[in-house]
Symmetry: C2
Subunit: 681 residues, 2 copies
């Protein structure tokens, strides 16, 4: 950790330009001055404590919304529970579910809800514990022990679940204390098609029309819990321009990537990925044209490819956004100046850039020799690799084959999955052709896999006579170790054996020359940034409770005016526009209720609040701390939020509170739940 | 014209790859084999003659849709008539109009409708006439005389209006014979806001929700005309995937631009324009923030800038479309090969490329020294230029100041327009700063306009004390000729005088080194293409009657699934989504009729048919030659259609016939007109 007392006075001069509504802030350090300056809003300590304790971690995010422990989250967050409670005879996912009475509420198997009761800065204790250590590994080990001790002591003293969370890349350690409940019951779920209207096509696209909410209830000792803090429904519905807050559990961000790293992503790695995905998409469309059966076989793969493409395009658009780019550049410039002015040691930007250049120099190989195509070739490669890597001591193995990762690889190899040889050949031929195009005919990988044949011939040869599509054959090879692998005359396996040394060299290079130095640079940057700016800047997300804020606002993208909200009328209109063809078909109860639904009722809306995966199910609250909506998605442009926040066109999407009440009352016949949400009895 | 008999046999081998649904075809040469091959459709001669004679030129496009001469076109096509019939006391544009009885039908002042009765190939006569001429000018003059004679003879013989139309860049000359009517009366117009819902924001954007239609009636001798051919309403409404036809009057296309020319447009001139428009947009937004009055002053200019930006972005997207690009490249490659194989003389590609390079080399000057900013500086420039250019013989003048163009320039200088000095200064300062940035401080234009001051200072100095905002001063200078111009001490006029020699050199360069050689290359290419491929390829648009075709289809753009149609429900939903704020406010009668309107009724739809400006008001007909819709716009992506047709995401937009009937019956209380359209009495 860097020395920071000497530079405290300089902080206010050094602050980087404030990024509008950026930040997933910890509740102990909300951006009070930004909120005051931008919105004239000063949340009290009580306001913050109330929201913190009404926010509930339920896998992703959720919140208490009634004095009787009612929990509001997304349908897609509750889907794990819903699926577990379903059977062919009672398909709760497809049909939805309403518990009109408490005894109809269904306990979710293996669910856990928890609330962050309090937190405490334990940085000194953790750092102190490693003071006598020399060498990075010794420091890590001693800190790990100190953390385990702090967590155990805390649990004993408070009876709460305790967890030490590193913040600002290990600049701070905070002890989080959680109240946990393991009895969570399903109260209400809409039909899957109502929650996920538009399916993959509309996923992270806005305008959106999704009733993506569910209600659960937390029980304690067989009775509904009476939470001290729960969110009340807003007296005044949300409106354009409103300041709103989001309390939830964003998973991970990488906001400290340097300009050099972002440039490599934008100019090298992302374009390679996008070109490949576009090619795969075209290839799968062509394959689908062969017959209806071919189309059925390719469907899942096509969905995956198109969603990958969509998210890649979103990232690209975000990385090309001139406003964000200018802001990030100015920010880095100022950070570097401050860093050098303060005489901090080292040059993490140079380290990051060097790693980034190494990545760029081998980017085509990293793509073409990766197993990103999910063909049988990948299974062959994993069979070969696990056999050989297991023979090595743990520390010398490729990361993926260390003990911690092996069960997942085995699980995958043992899983019974259908393979279609024609489709496999088509995809594999495309993969080989792409490798040839990216690396050139002379590259040893290309020579090895093609052996002077065309990509199509090579794919035919390797795939047609392979038995790896048979799960029993895979299990035999898995159990037989290196001997079985080397004895096999399976053409695909033989190919994978030949490719293994090339793959191994490349993956090792990736681990040692790219990933490790990048991670070290990120830690150095994170700690330097913290030393220079302290807690005036938000930390990267760590899947713990955070507070985001922003305004409710539409946007202009590509010449199209996009409104701040959608309506039920818009839902019916979008279904009609596609003649109700899937994924734009109306869920049966939504279709049946059309005449009872008021079309102008708001359905979804968007805000500039800074969120990322894990925020699903977060309540959206107003200045009075009352809930006005429920986060469930974000638009394509916000996919760049992982690297850089932008409010130009990036938006987080929420279900409007009015939509939830309207659906309960007019579509799903659950007025008692609407009453409970309204605070009535 | 190139010699073509020798190569006729080679044609089928040489045909360039067919571009899906490309083409604005003449009715005497429809793409029969393409239609048969792609859609299995074989239109009969009667089918074609019927559609040709039901299509009516009414400024832009329209069609007869009843036996009593009812004419269907767009509201925005009829708007000239509607405006002329309006007064402050009777605002037909704002309120709409319904003539329930014939006597209520209002004659449009100065309107003309015409139908193409027949056409005849007169190429030989025109070419023959110039056989004895030597030199391009002599050829042109003799052909002009021959054309005038053909037109006069035709009129005398037939009593019809006759016009000789050059096709394929002068490869063919066709004599068109029109029946004309000058008594056209307004029958029905919806409210402006219903026809143009979404205003500039939704203009050339899809999804669209516009009731952009109007009805007129053609009279002859005081009685409704009984057209031999009129379109019947389709018995079966249009559906996704349908083959449809568009008969209308596309204005102009430039499909013969070479790869080099497209590359210059895409990489040089368009980016300069887009960067400038983005800068201007930001500048105008900043200006608008100053006060509500400033926002009001900047509004028109902001709309214009944003629409220019939108259309530029659409062009850019189209020029970057990989499918179109690949197709154009392949097409050119094949054309060049065929051209050289056939031993055709010259190298028009090289000529076009050379001109294109000259344009690229001075592109920044052409932008920065142009008068594209609509400030007082442009008025000053035109005052100076017209005075000096008038002194020169016609043939030596800059093209804009030849006799034909002078009245328009004078009209503009004499027009009383409000100028806001603050806004003028802001825009002018931005213009100067941009010139400095584009050309560098050392460029003579920059030195001349800045004279060592900052852009802001220079703009202040030139604008603040100028009197050119006073129309009387402009008229005085216009009438005073060079003497008045040289005597004036107006700072802006003095600046324009200093800039004039620079401007003149540049504009002359543009005319002689870019425009003229480009036009010559285009003619050479067009004629060569015609010689090689004959009429298997469509000619560029020439504002005469054409037939386009395509299928009804939605599309995917930027990860967003866009449906083939919109609905009335979608219209109300879009208005609701913006809280009814302009330009998304509902027209009063549309709002009032909400409960009577069936939300699932289709409103607009899109097709791949190849159209361009001038097609507004074209009927969309089905295989049975019945009308199913009315062209009124196209989406952003189709703005590249000027240069290259694409069916990836480029679409033309139409009002669905059902929307027209529904609006007449449920919103505007005109069931008798709906009955007439349905073929009832």
């Amino acid at each position: 950790m860097l020395h920071r007392t000497a530079i405290a006075l300089a902080i206010c001069l050094l602050l980087p330009p404030a990024l509008a509504d950026e930040g997933m802030w910890t509740f102990d350090n909300p951006p009070l001055s930004r909120l005051d300056k931008t919105y004239g809003f000063q949340p009290s300590a009580a306001w913050l404590a109330h929201l913190q304790q009404a926010a509930v971690n339920f896998g992703a995010s959720s919140s208490f919304v009634s004095p009787d422990g009612l929990l509001l989250t997304n349908h897609h967050v509750a889907l794990g529970c819903i699926d577990k409670l379903s059977s062919p005879a009672r398909d709760l996912a497809h049909n939805g579910y309403v518990a009109h009475q408490r005894y109809e509420e269904l306990r979710c198997p293996g669910s856990m809800a928890r609330v962050l009761r309090s937190s405490e800065d334990v940085t000194q204790q953790v750092v102190e514990a490693s003071k006598t250590a020399s060498g990075g590994d010794a420091v890590t080990a001693m800190r790990k022990r100190a953390i385990a001790r702090l967590e155990a002591d805390c649990k004993q003293q408070t009876g709460l679940a305790c967890e030490v969370v590193p913040l600002y890349k290990g600049s701070l350690y905070h002890l989080y204390r959680y109240k946990e409940w393991d009895d969570v019951r399903l109260v209400f779920a809409p039909e899957y098609q109502a929650a996920f209207f538009g399916g993959d096509a509309d996923n992270f696209v806005y305008p959106r029309h999704a009733l993506d909410f569910a209600l659960l209830r937390v029980y304690e000792n067989g009775q509904p819990v009476r939470p001290v803090h729960y969110l009340k429904l807003a007296k005044r519905p949300v409106a354009e321009g409103d300041l709103v807050f989001v309390a939830g559990h964003p998973g991970a961000t990488d906001r400290l990537l340097t300009q050099a790293q972002l440039a490599t992503l934008r100019d090298i790695t992302l374009p390679i990925k996008l070109a490949s995905l576009k090619r795969q998409q075209a290839e799968l469309h062509a394959y689908s044209q062969r017959s209806p059966e071919a189309a059925r076989q390719a469907l899942d793969r096509l969905f995956g490819t198109e969603n990958g493409l969509k998210s890649g395009l979103g990232q690209e658009a975000a990385l090309l956004d001139p406003k964000t780019t200018a802001q990030k550049e100015a920010d880095e410039q100022q950070f570097r100046t401050a860093y050098h002015q303060q005489g901090l040691a080292g040059d993490p930007w140079a380290e990051a850039e060097a790693a980034s250049k190494r990545e760029a120099s081998r980017a085509k190989e990293l793509w073409a020799l990766g197993y990103g195509y999910r063909t049988l070739f990948e299974y062959a490669g994993q069979l070969v690799e696990q056999a050989y890597e297991r023979q090595l001591p743990e520390s010398e193995r490729l990361n993926a084959y260390r003990s911690a990762g092996l069960p997942e690889i085995e699980r995958r190899l043992r899983a019974k999955v259908p393979f279609y040889k024609d489709l496999q050949v088509a995809v594999q031929a495309g993969y080989f052709a792409e490798a040839e195009q990216l690396l050139g005919k002379g590259h040893s990988f290309v020579r090895t896999v093609l052996m002077d044949a065309t990509p199509q011939e090579a794919a035919e040869k390797a795939i047609r006579n392979s038995k790896l599509d048979d799960v029993n054959e895979r299990i035999r090879l898995l159990q037989g170790g290196v001997a079985a692998i080397e004895a096999s005359d399976d053409p695909l396996l033989q190919l994978a054996r030949k490719v293994y040394p090339l793959r191994r060299e490349l993956v090792r290079y990736q681990e040692t020359q790219i990933e490790t130095p990048s991670k070290q640079a990120a830690e150095q940057l994170g700690q330097a940034r913290f030393a220079l700016y302290g807690r005036e800047l938000p930390p990267d997300a760590t899947a713990t409770l955070r507070l985001s804020y922003g305004k409710v606002a539409g946007y202009q993208a590509g010449g199209i005016s996009t409104p701040w909200k959608t309506t039920f009328g818009g839902l019916y209109a979008r279904a009609d526009s596609f003649d109700g063809k899937p994924p734009f078909d109306l869920a049966p109860k939504v279709a049946a209720a059309r005449s009872k639904v008021v079309p102008s009722t708001p359905l979804n809306f968007v805000t500039t609040a800074d969120i990322i995966g894990g925020n699903s199910g977060s309540p959206v609250v107003n200045r009075d701390g009352e809930w006005v909506g429920l986060i469930f998605d974000s638009n394509l442009e916000s996919l760049g939020n992982r690297f850089a926040y932008s409010d130009t066109t990036a938006r987080s999407s929420a279900v409007d509170a009015r939509a939830i009440l309207h659906a309960l009352e007019r579509i799903y016949g659950a007025p008692e739940l609407a009453r409970e949400l309204r605070g009535g009895k």
